[in-house]
């Protein structure tokens, strides 16, 4: 079955429905079937008319969950945002909310007030707003410099990424890694530790990358002039996203020579200082390769853009239980995708493949890391 014809609606907009109700009849190639509803609420809108033939998967109607009815004309604004708006002299009606169903948050109010202040004007868009409160308090100058710093960072990222895609012929390789052994080893190691000194699997990944680079040193290099210069030391840069947007990738110096515990401590310190804006300039300029993990964001595979003058970047995706074949049997295993983005001027797929294989091999015996 790939399509069906809507024969009749049994409910109309405004009707309450509950889980299990039949709301429509649909005719398929074989028979007429009843469309059962799996959620309770109020029919807001019917999107398909009787007689219309539509593909399977087409949205037929919109149902608003109970208790979510939005009163027309009533502003969806958090209590705290409402109060902040009054303090800053922002008219909430002029603010476009970025939350669920357009709800207005403190951040939305702050953004509007900041824009008004930046412009030095008393209007925002077409909507007039009252002049900002005469008291100097609410928006500290720090907020403005933060906005400027933010814009500068975006420009720097834009320049580096555009240069990377312009100059570096990227190639991408990816492999799936069975993290079963690594996770079992880690949970055994963490079992007796207090939460503050537990190892996160991220440091295993960072260390595995660092150690694997010893075997494929051409990926641990910088492009200078017209050639790649291999780096003696291995300084893995770790991509850290910042709260206000943007990212930095400061170095964990001599990554391959640090113990997992040292790496964990230094990594957490790096994250904290990155967010506080107190990284040392050497940390920003020293990385010889970058590792980025978007697993926490639910990403399966990362096709990263190399940060020049580096010549490679390793990305890790989300770890999830997947069917895996081991010794002829299908077993569930925590599986993760590792991706290499590399500069084809410097290395070839064969060497890149060896590198990913080495990362995989190291993660199968984490006690060696």
């Amino acid at each position: 079955m790939s399509a069906g014809t809507l024969v009749a609606w049994l409910k109309k907009p405004g009707d309450s429905v509950k889980r299990g109700d039949i709301i429509a009849e649909v005719e398929t190639d074989k028979a007429a079937i009843e469309v059962e509803i799996f959620t309770s609420g109020v029919i807001e809108k019917l999107l398909v008319q009787p007689g219309e033939k539509v593909p399977v998967g087409t949205v037929l109607a919109i149902i608003r969950e109970e208790g979510k009815a939005v009163e027309p004309g009533r502003l969806r604004i958090s209590p705290s945002a409402k109060q902040l708006a009054a303090e800053l002299g922002v008219d909430p009606a002029s603010v476009r909310g970025t939350g669920p169903d357009g709800a207005i948050s403190r951040a939305d109010i702050e953004a509007v007030a900041r824009r008004a202040r930046d412009k030095g004007l008393e209007t925002i868009g077409e909507e007039p707003v009252r002049p900002l409160a005469p008291s100097p308090a609410p928006l500290a100058p720090a907020a403005e410099t933060a906005a400027k710093r933010q814009a500068r960072m975006r420009q720097a990222i834009a320049a580096a990424m555009a240069r990377s895609k312009r100059e570096i012929p990227h190639y991408y390789l990816s492999t799936t890694i069975d993290m079963g052994r690594a996770m079992a080893w880690l949970s055994e190691k963490n079992r007796k530790r207090p939460i503050q000194s537990r190892l996160l699997y991220g440091v295993l990944l960072i260390k595995a990358v660092a150690v694997a680079l010893r075997e494929v040193p051409e990926l641990n290099a910088v492009w200078k002039g017209n050639q790649a210069v291999q780096s003696q030391a291995i300084h893995v840069g770790v991509a850290i996203s910042l709260r206000q947007g943007g990212l930095v990738a400061p170095a964990l110096h001599d990554t391959d020579r640090q113990s997992l515990d040292q790496l964990m401590t230094n990594f957490l310190d790096l994250v904290k200082r990155a967010r506080a804006g107190s990284l040392r300039s050497s940390e920003l300029s020293d990385p010889t390769i970058t590792v980025t993990s978007l697993g926490e964001q639910g990403v399966e595979t990362v096709f990263g853009v190399i940060y020049p003058p580096q010549v490679a970047l390793v990305g890790f995706g989300k770890m999830m239980d997947r069917p895996w074949v081991a010794e002829g049997k299908i077993v569930p295993r925590p599986i993760m995708t590792a991706t290499l983005s590399a500069d084809h001027r410097v290395s070839d797929g064969h060497r890149g493949g060896l590198f990913l294989a080495a990362v995989d091999r190291l993660l199968q015996d984490p006690s060696q890391l």
Binding site: P79, G99, R106, G202, E296
Partner: protein
């Protein structure tokens, strides 16, 4: 500082209490010869003798009642009810006697009784042995309800409870007994009136207690890597609740998630949520969210039990949704 398991910390507290006050004695099922169902009192019978480490019949109503009587008579009994699941048999003694006698006697009598019990799920002991009923007890005026989550609290709250003039109930999450932590070797009584900020943060307040503290802390460390700095509050004392600490935190972060292993409906999390509505409504930048146990008898099968309890991932998902991070 010494490394010590939660179980050993409880035992250290018991031993110190028995040594320092001749009125203190321990009573409950299997606390003597067997050393306690969770081995908290192992070795105490040999050390203190059968007068002070007393095995009781399998009758919770009887030995909790006996504890009330002993407390009335000037002793300082510590009653171990094996688990919260079995404490239901003693509810009449607890609700109608322990909690009311001071009031009913016009203040003439007090019940300095300490009751300890294991609580919580997560060890595949199925629907009758996995309850989290601390919230029920916190409903009752006239008693104090404590939820020690750390080794220092496991020992220190017990010692502090013995100085209270009224009944104190300690809920020890069974999952925590083998957990190791650090504390001062000579750590003594701790405060039993305040919640504790276990991790500072400014983006969202995570409020929890007991066994869920560790899941919540792990979730907050992982959330930090995605840019959300969560403040984690360990309630420690469920009754009387320290609302000042949670309100101060939410006034700073403007968002709150409550993590409670108990069933959602009528849970202690619901009480905390109501307190936030009453005390911090105009500071909230989003609805108060709850991560609670699923509303089912706790299943035996491991994957189903895991799915029925708050998880690190579940906490992270809820926090992210609240912070509008997709």
């Amino acid at each position: 500082m010494i490394k010590i398991t939660y179980r050993e910390a409880v035992r250290a507290g018991l031993r110190e209490a028995l040594k320092s006050d001749p009125r203190v004695f321990l009573m409950g099922e299997d606390v003597g010869r067997y050393g306690g169902a969770y081995a908290c009192s192992r070795g105490l019978l040999e050390e203190f003798g059968p007068e002070r480490i007393r095995d009781t019949p399998l009758s919770e109503s009887t030995f909790v009642g006996a504890g009330i009587g002993a407390a009335l008579g000037g002793m300082r009994p510590i009653v171990e009810v094996m688990t919260v699941n079995f404490s239901l048999l003693a509810l009449d003694q607890i609700v109608n006697n322990a909690a009311t006698i001071r009031h009913m006697s016009g203040g003439q009598f007090s019940i300095p009784l300490v009751v300890r019990m294991a609580t919580g799920a997560g060890r595949q002991v199925a629907a009758q042995h996995s309850h989290s009923l601390e919230g029920w007890y916190a409903h009752i005026p006239g008693i104090k309800v404590l939820s020690p989550a750390t080794v220092a609290d496991a020992k220190g709250m017990l010692l502090a409870a013995l100085s209270e003039p009224d009944p104190v109930f300690l809920f020890e999450h069974a999952f925590l007994y083998p957990m190791e932590g650090e504390m001062d070797e000579h750590a003594g009584p701790v405060d039993i009136s305040k919640a504790a900020v276990r991790r500072p943060g400014q983006d969202v307040t995570l409020i929890t207690f007991g066994g869920s503290l560790w899941k919540t802390l792990e979730a907050s460390e992982r959330l930090a890597l995605t840019g959300i700095e969560a403040e984690v509050i360990d309630l420690r004392v469920l009754r009387p609740l320290d609302t000042a600490t949670i309100l101060a935190s939410v006034r700073k972060t403007h968002r709150a998630v409550i993590v409670d292993e108990a069933w959602r409906t009528g849970s202690f999390a619901a009480e905390v949520s109501a307190q936030l509505m009453e005390g911090a409504f105009y500071d909230l930048d989003g609805p108060v969210a709850r991560v609670c146990g699923a509303e089912v008898p706790i299943p035996y099968a491991k994957h189903l039990e895991d799915a029925a309890l708050p998880s690190v991932e579940g906490i992270m998902r809820t926090v992210r949704a609240l912070c509008w991070q997709s």
